[in-house]
């Protein structure tokens, strides 16, 4: 029973993660993580 709820919560998280990645691509024109270094000192 808990497996069902965990799968559902995981699905919700995947949706938000994909949206964040889409936004990353739209703002930086790249999904290369080594280019996402705005916070690097």
């Amino acid at each position: 029973m808990f497996a069902l709820f965990i799968i559902t919560v995981a699905a919700a998280e995947v949706g938000v993660g994909l949206a964040i990645l889409l936004l990353l691509y739209r703002n930086r024109q790249s999904v290369d993580l080594s280019e996402a270094d705005l916070m690097k000192g």
């Binding site: 497996a3 069902l4 709820f5 799968i7 919560v9 919700a12 949706g15 949206a19 964040i20």
Partner: protein, 169 residues
């Protein structure tokens, strides 16, 4: 078939499915063709569904096939085929940070295995773990009605949130 015989058969089936899944997972990350990678993902997810069925969780197993193989992987394949001009022998599927990735994977595997072993040890599963779809439906709408409504709202919120984040203004 005796109970012991059924247990032995279950263990053999688990070993076979797990071996197929490990092989497919390794091929999934080493193949140079993204379409082959998506098809190996089908094998891995099918193995997960088979393990759920083996545990007697028929509803979760069949949902796994419908949602993951039926929807997610088909979405992957459509995405690959609609966006790539050339499919096959790709450059750039490898990454220079192989060793740190291997270390991180080994660390995650160690922590997971240690957590499972120390949490459950040699505790035995009950002999009959079957749960029919009717039982799942009954308990979802009676015992677990509050968590069910909670995850429903959570999914709705995640959906709206994803649309708000990804929408072009």
């Amino acid at each position: 078939m005796t109970v012991l015989g059924a247990l032995v058969a279950q263990n053999i089936a688990f070993g076979v499915i797990a071996a197929i899944m490990v092989f497919a997972a390794i091929r999934l990350v080493t193949t140079r063709n993204v379409v082959h990678a998506a098809l190996f993902l089908v094998v891995v997810l099918g193995g997960v569904a088979a393990l759920f069925l083996l545990m007697g969780a028929e509803f979760v197993g069949i949902t796994q096939i419908l949602v993951y193989i039926g929807a997610v992987v088909v979405l992957f394949l459509f995405g690959i085929m609609l966006t790539r001009t050339r499919i096959g022998n790709e450059e750039g599927t490898d990454h220079p940070n192989r060793l740190p990735a291997l270390l991180a994977a080994a660390l995650v595997a160690t922590v997971t295995i240690y957590a499972v072993v120390s949490g459950f040890g040699d505790a035995e599963l009950p002999a009959d773990t079957r749960t029919t779809t009717a039982e799942v439906a009954d308990s979802i709408f009676s015992t677990y009605i509050i968590p069910f409504e909670a995850v429903s709202v959570l999914l709705l919120a995640a959906l709206i949130g994803a649309i708000v984040i990804a929408r072009r203004d």
